[in-house]
C-alpha cells in the first residue's frame, strides 16, 4: 500500500500498452497470417422513406470490408438512382440512396441495392406511406398520441386510489403483489419489444441482444442506488416510504413509456402501423394499469392529490417525448436503449416492492402475494391482447 504514485500509474498503464502493441502487431505484421476464411460483405438497409416521386433508402455498411453500392432496384427491377455522399461505403458508414420513382400509396415495395461483387441486399416495406413532413401539425398530433397513451390512462388508473385505500391489510398486500405482476409483465414486454426492434431495425454489428442485456443490468443497478437513497431519505424526512416506492415505480414506468412512445412515434412516421382508434384504445386500456401500480403503495400513507398527479406525470409525460423523438427522428438504437432502461428500472422496482412488503408483514409468502401476482400478470396479458 506504500507504493509510490508513478509505480501505481505504470502498473495501471502497462497492460493497456501491451494490449495496444498486440493489436498493432495483429493488424500489421501478423495480418496476412491471420487471413483465413471467406470475408463476406454486408449492407443493411436501415430506413426507407417515400416522398413525392422518390424513394429514399438509408444504407449502412455493416460488414467487415469496404464496399461500393453500384445499383439500386425497386421490387428487383433495376432503377437509375443517386447515392449521397458517394458510392463507396467504409465500415459502418451510411449513405442515402435516392431513387426517382413514381410509387403508389399503400402498395408493398421491396428496395434493393447491389454492391460491386454483385451481391444484392433488400428490405421490404408492407405499405408505402408518404414520409411525414416535420411541421407543427405533426408535433401536435404526436403530442396528442403520447398524451392519450401515456398520461391519460395513468391518471385514470390513479383514480383507483380511494378504492384500494378503503380495503384491509390483506387487500393492500394483494394490490402491491398485483402491481408486481403488472410490472413484471411490463418488463418482459419491454424486453421482447426491444428484441424485436433489434431484429427488424438494428444492424447486427450493434449486437442488439447483448446491448439490451447490458443496459437492463446497468439500469437496474443505477435505479437500485437511487432507490436506496430515496428510501433512506424517507426515513429522515416526512417523505413516506410508500411515496418513495411510488416515485420509483413512476420513474421506472416513465422510462418504459419513453421507450414505448419512441416505438409508437416511429411506427407512425414510418407508416408501419395503420394507427387506428382501436390501437389507441388498446394502449390506453393497457396503460391504465400503470396508474394502479403507482397508486397501490400510496394507500398505506396519506397522499396529497398534487403529489399523485405529479407521480402520474412523471410516469406518463415521457410517452409524449417518446412519440416526438420517435416520430421526427426514429433511431432504433435509442428506442432499444430506452426500452431496456425501462425494463431494468421496472425489475428493480419489483424488487423494491417485494422488500417493502417483506418489511411490512412477516407472513410472506402468503396467499395475497401469489394471487396478486397471478392476477396482475393475467390482467396485463388480457389487456395486451386488445393492442
Amino acid at each position: 500500500m506504500t507504493s509510490s504514485k508513478p509505480v501505481l500509474a505504470i502498473s495501471a498503464i502497462a497492460p493497456i500498452v501491451l494490449l495496444v502493441i498486440m493489436v498493432a502487431f495483429l493488424l500489421g505484421p501478423a495480418s496476412s497470417f491471420l487471413q483465413f476464411g471467406v470475408v463476406l460483405p454486408e449492407v443493411s438497409i436501415e430506413k426507407i422513406e417515400f416522398i413525392e416521386n422518390e424513394i429514399r433508402a438509408t444504407v449502412r455498411n455493416t460488414g467487415p470490408v469496404d464496399v461500393n453500392v453500384v445499383l439500386a432496384d425497386v421490387n428487383d427491377r433495376i432503377q437509375p438512382a443517386a447515392i449521397e455522399p458517394d458510392t463507396s461505403l467504409e465500415r459502418f458508414e451510411t449513405a442515402l440512396v435516392r431513387i426517382p420513382f413514381d410509387w403508389n400509396e399503400g402498395q408493398p415495395y421491396e428496395i434493393g441495392v447491389t454492391i460491386d461483387d454483385g451481391t444484392r441486399f433488400a428490405k421490404g416495406i408492407d405499405a408505402a406511406f408518404p414520409a411525414i413532413e416535420p411541421d407543427i401539425d405533426l408535433f401536435v398530433f404526436l403530442g396528442m398520441i403520447g398524451f392519450l397513451i401515456g398520461v391519460v390512462p395513468i391518471m385514470i388508473g390513479l383514480l383507483w386510489y380511494p378504492f384500494i385505500k378503503k380495503l384491509g391489510k390483506n387487500s393492500f398486500n394483494f394490490f402491491l403483489a398485483f402491481t408486481m405482476g403488472l410490472l413484471i409483465f411490463l418488463g418482459i414486454d419491454a424486453v421482447i419489444e426491444a428484441a424485436e426492434i433489434s431484429e427488424n431495425h438494428l444492424s447486427s454489428i450493434f449486437n442488439g441482444e447483448l446491448l439490451i442485456a447490458t443496459v437492463i443490468i446497468l439500469s437496474f443497478l443505477a435505479l437500485y442506488g437511487v432507490g436506496k437513497k430515496l428510501i433512506q431519505k424517507a426515513e429522515f424526512s416526512k417523505l413516506s416510504k410508500g411515496l418513495a416506492i411510488s416515485l420509483m415505480i413512476a420513474i421506472g414506468i416513465g422510462f418504459h413509456n419513453l421507450g414505448e412512445g419512441l416505438a409508437v412515434g416511429a411506427a407512425i412516421a414510418l407508416g408501419e402501423v395503420a394507427l387506428s382508434t382501436f390501437l389507441i384504445i388498446g394502449f390506453a386500456t393497457h396503460n391504465t394499469t400503470e396508474g394502479l401500480a403507482i397508486a397501490a403503495p400510496l394507500t398505506s400513507t396519506k397522499a396529497k392529490i398534487a403529489k399523485m398527479v405529479g407521480l402520474g406525470l412523471i410516469a406518463g409525460i415521457p410517452a409524449i417525448f417518446g412519440t416526438w423523438i420517435g416520430g421526427f427522428s426514429f433511431s432504433p438504437f435509442f428506442t432499444l436503449i430506452f426500452l431496456a432502461i425501462g425494463a431494468g428500472a421496472i425489475f428493480q422496482v419489483v424488487l423494491s416492492i417485494f422488500q417493502y412488503m417483506k418489511e411490512k408483514s412477516n407472513l410472506l409468502p402468503n396467499t395475497s402475494l401469489f394471487s396478486g401476482l397471478s392476477v396482475g400478470l393475467l390482467v396485463m396479458y388480457l389487456t395486451s391482447i386488445i393492442i
Binding site: D86, R98, D117, G118
Partner: protein, 347 residues
C-alpha cells in the same frame, strides 16, 4: 449514504449524456455540410437534385466495360481452313476454358465469369455443311470443363461423359451437320453452375448454297446470377444489361437483317425476343429442342448416325438436374436399317 449519493450522481450524468447525444439523431442535418446539388434526370423523366454519385446502368456509356457487345455480335470465327485431299474443308478452332476471371458485367459490378477464349459468350463458331470441324480444347480452369456441341456427331464427341480436367486437352472432331443454328456449352456437372457462369457460345452451320446476303448479328440471350441465389440479377442480349438500349444497333431502311438468336438463360424457364415496328421471318433452327407447355403433344422422328451413349433431357438444367435426364444407348447393329431422316427441310 455517501455511496448512494455518488451512484445517483453517476446516474444523472449518464442520463444527461444520453439526452445530449440523442440530439445528434434528432438534428443530423445540422451536422452534415451542404454541397451544391446538381440535377439528375432519369430515362423515365423523373429528376432529382443530388450532391452524390449517380448509379445508373441504364444511362451508362459503357466505355470501361471488359466486353464489347457490338464487336461480339458481328464476330464469326471460321477457324483455320485447310482443304483435305478428298476436297473436304477442315476448320480448326482453338478454345481455352478458364474459370478465374473477374469481369465488369454491369457498371461497378464485378463478377467471376467462366470463359471460353476469355469471353462470355464464347466465340461464335461458324462452318459450312459438310466441313470437318476440329476443335482443340484446352482447360486452363481450376475445375473440369468440356465442350458439348449441339448437332450430329459421334457419342465421344458429345462432351458429356468425357470431362477435361485442369490443364487437360481434348480434340473434338465432327462434320458440320445439320445446317442451322446450334450452340455449344460446358456439360460438366453441375451444368447449371457451369452455364450460368458463362461457358457457352453459338455454333452456326451454313448451307452449302449460301443464304441470301444480309447483315448478320448474333444475339445470345443470357443472364447473370451475381449473388448465387438461384435467380438472375441481370438479363441481356450479349451479356451486358441495357447495352443496346443506349448503343442502338445501326441499320438501314430495307436492309436485310439476319439475327442468330440463342437463348442460354439459366434459372428461368422462358425468354422472349420481341421486335418493335416490324415483323420477322422465322426459321426454327436446330431441331434438337422442343419447348412444351403442359398438355402439349408432339410427334418426333429421328435416328442416330453413330453408335454410343447419348443423353436426352430438359435443357432447363433445373429440371434435368432434378431428374428429367435420360439416355439412348445406340448400338452398332447387324441389320442396317438403312433409314435416314432428311434434315434438308428443317434447317
Amino acid at each position: 449514504m455517501q455511496n448512494t449519493i455518488q451512484s445517483a450522481k453517476m446516474f444523472y450524468i449518464l442520463v444527461a449524456i444520453v439526452s445530449v447525444s440523442s440530439l445528434y439523431f434528432v438534428v443530423p442535418s445540422v451536422i452534415v455540410a451542404e454541397e451544391t446539388p446538381r440535377t439528375f434526370l432519369t430515362h423515365t423523366g423523373l429528376s432529382i437534385q443530388t450532391t452524390g454519385d449517380v448509379i445508373d446502368p441504364i444511362g451508362y456509356d459503357g466505355k470501361a466495360l471488359d466486353f464489347d457487345p457490338d464487336k461480339f455480335m458481328k464476330e464469326f470465327d471460321y477457324g483455320e481452313v485447310t482443304v483435305l485431299d478428298d476436297g473436304t474443308v477442315l476448320r480448326e478452332f482453338y478454345i481455352t476454358s478458364r474459370d478465374d476471371q473477374i469481369m465488369e458485367v454491369s457498371p461497378g459490378v464485378f463478377y467471376n465469369v467462366w470463359t471460353f477464349n476469355d469471353s462470355v459468350p464464347g466465340p461464335t463458331i461458324r462452318a459450312t455443311e459438310g466441313d470437318l470441324v476440329r476443335i482443340h480444347f484446352t482447360n486452363e480452369g481450376s475445375k473440369p470443363h468440356s465442350l458439348h456441341f449441339h448437332g450430329i456427331h459421334k457419342a465421344e464427341m458429345d462432351g458429356v461423359f468425357e470431362n477435361v480436367g485442369t490443364g487437360g486437352t481434348y480434340t473434338y472432331e465432327f462434320y458440320a451437320d445439320p445446317v442451322g443454328l446450334h450452340l455449344y456449352h460446358c456439360h460438366v456437372h453441375p451444368v447449371e453452375e457451369h452455364i450460368s457462369h458463362g461457358l457457352y457460345g453459338a455454333y452456326i452451320v451454313d448451307p452449302k448454297e449460301a443464304r441470301e446476303p444480309a447483315e448478320e448479328f448474333v444475339f445470345i440471350l443470357n443472364g447473370l446470377d451475381t449473388d448465387f441465389d438461384g435467380e438472375n440479377n441481370f438479363y441481356a442480349a450479349n451479356t451486358i444489361p441495357f447495352y443496346y438500349q443506349h448503343h442502338p444497333i445501326q441499320i438501314n431502311v430495307n436492309q436485310n437483317i439476319r439475327a442468330y438468336v440463342v437463348n442460354i438463360l439459366e434459372f428461368d424457364a422462358v425468354n422472349n425476343f420481341h421486335l418493335h415496328g416490324t415483323l420477322f421471318h422465322h426459321y426454327p433452327a436446330g431441331n434438337d429442342m422442343l419447348t412444351m407447355s403442359q398438355g402439349d403433344r408432339q410427334i418426333l422422328e429421328f435416328n442416330y448416325k453413330y453408335p454410343g451413349l447419348y443423353m436426352f433431357h430438359a435443357h432447363n438444367t433445373e429440371f434435368s438436374e432434378k431428374g428429367w435426364v435420360s439416355t439412348f444407348l445406340v448400338k452398332e447393329n447387324a441389320n442396317d436399317f438403312d433409314t435416314e431422316v432428311e434434315y434438308d427441310d428443317i434447317i
